[in-house]
Symmetry: D4
Subunit: 248 residues, 8 copies
């Protein structure tokens, strides 16, 4: 029951077609989603400029392609993450304009171009192995309408690499910092800037890295007060929040 | 906005006092809790015969006593769990009728007496150290209107104790089984009966018992298909669900 | 030694054919399973309307098919879970009536049709990735003689989807709720209804989801008192218990 | 060596007072902190409007009081968290204007009053036991110059409480959400709003809550894309980041 | 129903006093514990020469003393482990013959003296901090009728201490080896002897010793094939099994 | 330097051929393994009747076959565990007498036949999936010269299966009990017998079974005092210790 | 900007070519890496005699070969660890002088030969399965200019093997000790020598070895004071530190 | 049996007083500790300049004082760690020269003064709360004859503090770096220097710091190759190894 139908009901009450008691019954069983509050919710993601998003893993290629097509038909930007070669192939046949970023493992269909972010989002990664996660973040931030600066391979064991990019760090309005192994980079970056830092632990490492747990624990315990954390390898989520912040 | 006010609004629409557009605005911001659905929710717990419940730990004695008094004032049964001597003393001064069960660490004020459960709830415990948890379950089941049978100290290392109570087990409509250490009892009991078994891991044990984790893992992995599990030492929760089941 | 043989022995004692001492010897070595209590146990599962069940993983296809055939020969319903394509192929050749549910990864041979459940079992899932577990639960509940309502893809990040099905939730006599990632859905559903909720953590998620551990912990710590929990991905077990409850 | 002194050195080089080689030596040993970049860092925290902060635990009362006095002498606002009665007593003797918030366990000396945040920071807590953490967040946000709205005791097992505050949620520019036990509230709140949500797991709960680990895992695995997470009970850190965001 | 009563029933059947059908009814409800098998179970522990055992922690001193007195009344040896000063005081008043071993934290009442073990049980400990656990094992082995050799403070970081006792190790028929920290001693001892080694991880250590988990894991993964493991600090259990072995 | 050479040196000292000082030098650098004590160690395993053992995983088939041949050449029994089809094929070509047990995944070459165990070793398994581990134990016990009784598929959820084999349990001199999932069987068996029980957790199960951790924890926390534990799936190790015990 | 350029700038200031203010601007944006301190850092690794290092896993063979060639072009030694057959093949075509150590899974190009270590580095391994890690350490130590002694397969369950190499142990200036399973070897070795012992836990083992966690915990809790630890399977890192020590 | 007695035995063999066979018997039972190799071991610690060490926790004050006195009597330096006020009081009465360092919680009796270390040991700590651990390391290094430089409170969130001490870092011959929370400091320091870095995780932090586990994991996964790790809070052990290195 949408706003039109709700108004129609009220008109019927006014006109006497429907008695208040009967209207009351209808209102009492009114599905929640028909209220304004819920409607807001329904389209919330798109209104904040988020693309339609598909998480690739576990989806059969043809199923994936159908979802992609259906979302594309709405005219919004579409972002697919962690896509497989088979998924890419099928989609690109139908949507030659879809851009595949092999490093980020993303597939993007850009149907609307608007600059929504007010400043620059800095995407920082500790090592070269963290780049897929960092690129997923960068692609996400770009499709959500942000300018992005990439600072890759600036891990803490070679501080000069990071420090020589002090200007880039200071120019960002919000930073996404990706690191595996001991996950120390967000703490160091957090100490160098005065803006929010979103830390992404990556599954890079071996042995006691435990697939990203060591990095996650390190980031959650960061001694820098401007650091918050998302799930292991969740480049998309970090960039999503960074985009919300950059829009303020 | 309750039903009366909602009806009044609709009457105003009918009478023309309020225009449909203005009524629409009021309805769009209608707080969710004023709908029938939410109201149901609001009184749900009491309608299923649950007592008013207070969790003792962390509450200052006088604060605890005030909450107790306020809940008691509604005329319902009141159940307080894991109460401290100070909390008990303060409440019992004001409510001499409140029953303190030292083993269960509960305080109960019985203001209504109704039999709500259709059958017997069996409360089973593995060792004597598990009795506080089992008694918390028993007291909860009783205040929620059930007949309860207690089978305590029937752990798996002395099977004859358990097996000699076969009749008691088979007469229960639902069972709550409390065990610490390896937590094997629910699996064994589950294999002997055809009714739901709610397993309660207890923090009884030492070393690799890890405060109940070993028992919790054992119960979650039970090879008996009729076993579900609640949190460590959560005798109250197990009995709450058992009461819901026994009411069917 | 069944009841008939036991009675026969007693008759022989009465008639003097067997001396009391010899009867005593026979009774002392009487295997436990021949007592009434154990017999009950032996056929317990089937008497509560449970199907014969085969867990697919790790069984060679031909071995699997033989077990299936042997169980089918007893005339009961047969349920196989987590079946592989090879297992399905072999069984379906011999049992064309066997129904394969690809989503649930189940194989069912329905040889008896009886309605055993008194109400509706609601099967709820948070995301589309949780559907295999939810479908396993639904198939299990159906073969155990229950009416089932499916509410899929109603996760907590889009509450309106869940709330718009308030009637479906309230009409269920018991609910099975499947969720991965943070596993929050059972708590929310538990707060909306007054019946038992059986929570099934799923292995859906990545990174710190730890293959379902995060969801399992979330559910075990649920702030809703009517929630109990089964093992990760154990849709079968949840539906089994729900069926026992629905029969009361 | 600040900018003035650096310029002076260069002037001396130009005038011939200092030879290039000697200037080179001075520059080579130039302490990092004397460069502009480092200076920025040095005063960064205060420039973003953060108070001087003292973490109370483990500090002897007199040591604590001395630190407090020294920080207060700089004329900035001072915030002490998790303070003990002994620490409070000593400080309040000397600084009668210091405000002690018993619920938040904070001690605040307000010496400057400026509104730095552009919108409202919403502080949400699941249960009453989470209030100390939520209050620590609120006090922090306020001393950092923000308007704060508190929504306490709106846990997911009673959704109507949360939903009836839809307006408050939607009016916030950024939200801090504190929850223990299963930690589900941030996911639900995240689904209702389009702004960043900073989740704070609390150590509230028992048994398998593991002192906040269950809540932490739940939040890190949130199915809502606008959620980031800080350490267990870290209300201060969450509000710190929220303040940075609210200043944009 | 013991053997006598069972025989009496059969006599009544023979004599016609009791009809076979009535006897059948009695037999069907025959409690399991009355069968020979269960009886064996009931007195099993004492028949293998085990003392009556009381686990001290969590028992009120007067309750503890009553249990002690009741067990002592049966005329068997009594062993209490992890006893508190209050428990000791109360018991020793009534039983001046009770021996308190302060290092082992045990209280023993020796009422029967029989040598049941055929050889020597060697009790080995890595460090001086492991002695309480090792002494608990030694006291247990002695009260169960074994000769015991103690080799304490022979940890692996000073191999010469261990190796200089080669004869003692080789003379034992079974060994109990207690170690905390890395728990390496059982592997080394296991490699030096050809008899069963029962490893007891102790909670000695700090930091990543995790209260005995590191030692437990080390022992479970022992590269010596003759090592089995009991719970952390479970000196009693290790000696109990060693006693069973030494009796063969 | 063996005993003969040592004696020869002493003879040379006596005869004056070697000066005491020179002999002293030779003795000081005397390798440890040449002492009687070490020699004992060197042949220890074989003297206790253990076979030569090869752990299959990770060994290239041809490397594996070479080791097998070399060990076989010593004339002892050879036992290979967890062998792969390729390893089996290569060995069986050369050693047609080698017996492959597909269930146990073992390869055995029996070159000596002696009965070393004094009684029966009972090998018990909870489910059919635990049989590979149980069979590995049985094959090991047999090649070490023991009589073995197998009791498979007698898990705790169907107690009658276990209890009907009371005689078999009671006739064993030592028991090896294998179980996955909750690992409760050793506790139950331990309560039924008075001999040592060696518990083997298996990796059978899914979800929160954590590859055998749940079973391992359950067994380490067993409430039966006669239970000790070996590593997950370590059927060989359990049977090795059982054989040592059965030889006493 | 290196020292020469910095001096040139100062000369320009002196000569008046560059105004102090302009020089100031250049100095303020002076990249950190151009300072002497950072330069040291930049070439630090090579100056301590470390080879150029490539970690093989996750690198495409052609990408790997390009990196290898680029590093080789600098004229330094090149070390690649954990290389795959494809990576080896491509590199060896271009660099026939590259040495592949199949056991260590390393590829080494030796372009400079200098002895940098002052003594011998002893590389010790517990079992044959630990050899790949130990060989990685040995190859690393050798390419870093050290003499290496290998003591393999000297695990603690057969002490005589270790003790018979007492001289080799005592002659080393620093030791790298690799062990899986319970990881006890470093403690034993640490007790026999007076030099630093670097312990490398390996992922050798199964079940509760948890891929090296048990060994890691054992080593971190070593009762020998001269033991420090690196990550699981990190033979390279251990040898790197040993080389730094051996250079002192 | 020391060298003298061994030589005497050989002389007796030469003189014919003892027959070779009798000497052989004596040599076969020769205790290991009497060989040169073991003797070395026995006095190893002291020969490397280590003090006599007592670990305070768990020792009764009078017992502690006796041990202290006994060790002091040998004329060596004595170091007691983690001492309690009671232990200090008793010892200082008897040994007024004993120095108590309240921050390090150490008690030192200096009876010999020799400079054994060749260079400087740098002791670095991240925060002020890490100082007790860092001071324990410093005191240990000093009593072992080393020059020590302390760099405290130079955590990674304020890099300028660390970087401004570049000279101090570069002048150290080996570094001990103590950090809690995320434990990132050793990685950063490791990247700035070319000498061995021994990392000490501290138990500083709260919530997901898990008493030092997060820091331990971070350090074990350090991306700097020159970092090795000791147990949580083990300042003594780190300094012990640093002293061994500094002596080379």
């Amino acid at each position: 029951m949408d706003e039109q139908r709700l108004k129609a009901l009220l008109e019927q009450v006014r006109s006497g077609e429907v008695a208040p008691d009967d209207a009351l019954d209808q209102l009492k069983t009114l599905p929640y989603e028909d209220l304004g509050f819920a409607k807001v919710d329904h389209h919330r993601a798109l209104r904040v400029g988020a693309p339609e998003v598909i998480f690739g893993p576990g989806k059969a290629p043809d199923h994936f392609a159908q979802i992609f097509a259906r979302l594309a038909a709405r005219g919004n930007n579409v972002l697919a993450t962690r896509v497989s070669p088979e998924q890419i192939e099928l989609v690109c046949e139908e949507f030659p304009a879809a851009e595949h970023n092999p490093s980020a493992r993303t597939l993007v269909l850009r149907q609307r171009q608007e600059k929504l972010g007010k400043g620059i989002i800095g995407i920082v990664s500790a090592g070269t192995s963290d780049i897929p996660v960092a690129e997923e973040a960068a692609v996400t931030a770009e499709i959500m309408g942000n300018d992005v600066t990439r600072l890759f391979d600036v891990g803490v064991a070679g501080l000069h690499r990071l420090l020589s990019h002090g200007d880039d760090l200071r120019m960002a309005r919000v930073l996404v910092v990706c690191a595996g192994m001991e996950g120390a980079l967000p703490s160091v970056v957090g100490g160098l800037v005065g803006v929010p830092v979103i830390a992404v632990p990556t599954s890079v490492g071996y042995g006691a890295a435990f697939g990203g747990i060591a990095a996650l624990l390190g980031m959650i315990n960061s001694c820098a007060s401007n650091v918050t954390v998302v799930n292991i390898d969740n480049g998309f989520g970090a960039a999503y929040v960074a985009s919300l912040i950059n829009r303020l």
